[in-house]
Symmetry: C2
Subunit: 356 residues, 2 copies
């Protein structure tokens, strides 16, 4: 693991800025040949984060599009709202959409931009840890439908991504933990040293160096396979079970799980499956479980709900035909894609989590 | 102008089949490694065209998605309907969507497929003359919103296009004329000999050779500029005024203009503008007007409606900033893109049409 900070990471045709990022954004806006600017936010980022951006905008005019915060709003209705605002504000093909917020904003805004007039430019200014380490690179845009996450979307790269650690100070601890799950995953799938470094760090607000490491790891994977034909599936570790748990919680819990909390559960279940199927050692699964159960609160997963979760896993867009597909671990730092798991195996893995 | 028929035209990563096309479709379905098949049609094509396709399917199972016919249904509501049907029928990433119908079906189906699970494969089987010569190549997908045509969409290529002249026999004469306008446009912008050939042909049902010529012309243009940065704008001749007239008619007339009828009006107006601005000769504009007024009925365009049409032109997605942009003719067979026209000039061109 390298521990020095790169100030800029090159992704697929664009840069991710890690240092002095809001000045870089101001510079991008100033020098890009755009006719109009739009900022997409939610009611929280418009209070906590927009002022930091506005400070740098110094006189540039822009139109603000504000939507309600929350994963439950990452849907076609809000997307239609964004499209109609762009129409009403007279957006043309040389307009720029600036997505300022968490994954809901960058995913939905990216999708809206990638389909408006068959594609206008957009940049992402991710303001949550999760969106900084996960949604900022990879070119996935999307919205949810019928309780299926990201079922509608495109592969479209932003023109730039600006990551500023200052935004994280406005986040509640649960939101930090949500992003942390993806960072831990990056270590587990390809970088054992990074996993060790995370275990031994103060993670209340991760350093920009650790954040940068995560972006570098994810970036390396998506560059090798932009449209998820093979390597990129590494990033799905924890997500087959995790997405199902997340959707289930979203539909059933008043105070529902965050993405990271659900993925932490998914990683525990899929680590257990990895012992059964791909050779992860008992010592490693114990290490993973110890770290994840220390960081994340236990979620009640009664056996009577397992069937509903299995049904959700069957609808996962990663499946082909009628099988359920997982990415598992061979060891900490090595992954195995396309592992077909039976319903019984998945049920057992949920039982394992429930028994902890 | 070449007059022999190519059986296959190579476009951007896919083939357009002109001969024995339904057998080619059957072969594509048989040999492509797909998990499921979906056919998207409307209530007319499912009666008139689907049986011809089914004959060739011999035992292959597929799910049928039928939507209401008509440009007014090329909207997000029907698109959501298609997405939900794909979800309900269990479409996965290896599913194939077969768009069987006119431009509404190929545009909407292409958009639905290009955004479902971030893109599944689709092929087009255009059943109207318009969709055969216009929508079959170019990779534009889209839906209308707020009376703006194709405002939401993507650039996504189909995996193949199958053109069969047999479908045209089921079309009313107005539908043939609608497609013919695009064929005439192809001659006007880049091929004077093709324009002459069309003038002197029996056009009640154009021959597959003439249809093939149009596809070849359009294909050559879009290959040189897939995302419409420059050359491809040639295809917009007649469409700045034409789209506005079409939208206006769609919103106001019970028996509204077809696309081609509107584009024929647009081509007359923009030919008049071409005389003023880009050197088209009086003799040429007279030739164009003579042919178009012989083929297409006169549309009543009262001066009291010009303002509404100008407003629609201002919303055209081809514009940049606050100007209205046209593609005009330097001569029959030569075009000039990015011609900014004033509102007065456009008003005068409408007056010219009304005076004929």
């Amino acid at each position: 693991m390298e521990s020095t900070l790169q100030s800029t990471i090159e992704s697929i045709g664009y840069n991710v800025y890690l240092q002095d990022s809001l000045n870089e954004l101001a510079n991008f806006v100033e020098t890009g040949n755009y006719s109009k600017f739009f900022i997409l936010t939610d009611e929280f980022t418009s209070v906590h984060c927009l002022p930091l951006v506005e400070e740098k905008f110094a006189g540039k005019t822009y139109d603000l599009i504000e939507i309600n915060a929350g994963e439950e709003n990452k849907n076609i209705d809000f997307c239609i709202g964004v499209w109609k605002m762009l129409i009403d504000f007279g957006a043309d093909r040389r307009s720029l959409l600036i997505n300022l917020g968490g994954g809901v904003i960058t995913d939905l805004g990216g999708f809206a931009a990638s389909t408006f007039k068959r594609g206008i430019d957009f940049v992402n200014v991710p303001t949550t840890l999760l969106s900084q380490v996960d949604a900022s690179v990879g070119g996935k845009t999307g919205i949810d439908m019928d309780s299926i996450k990201n079922i509608i979307g495109t592969f479209t790269q932003p023109k730039a991504v600006f990551i500023d650690q200052a935004f994280l100070k406005t986040l509640p601890p649960r939101e930090i933990l949500s992003g942390l799950a993806e960072m831990l995953k990056h270590g587990l799938i390809v970088d054992a040293a990074y996993w060790e470094a995370l275990k031994n760090s103060d993670l209340s607000i991760p350093s920009i160096e650790l954040i940068g490491q995560s972006v570098v790891i994810k970036n390396r994977i998506v560059i090798s396979d932009p449209t998820e034909k093979s390597h990129r599936k590494a990033l799905n570790f924890g997500h087959t079970v995790g997405h199902a748990v997340e959707t289930y919680s979203l539909d059933n819990d008043k105070d529902h799980l965050t993405h990271g909390e659900a993925i932490a559960i998914g990683m525990i279940c899929e680590s257990w499956l990895s012992v059964k199927k791909t050779g992860l050692s008992e010592a490693e699964v114990n290490d993973i479980v110890k770290v994840l159960t220390r960081l994340y609160p236990k979620y009640q997963l009664p056996e009577s709900n397992f069937d509903a979760m299995i049904e959700l896993m069957k609808k996962d867009k990663k499946n082909e035909g009628n099988t359920i597909n997982c990415t598992l671990l061979k060891s900490i730092g090595t992954y195995a894609i396309n592992q077909i798991c039976t319903e019984d195996e998945l049920r057992e893995s949920l039982k394992y989590y429930a028994s902890l």
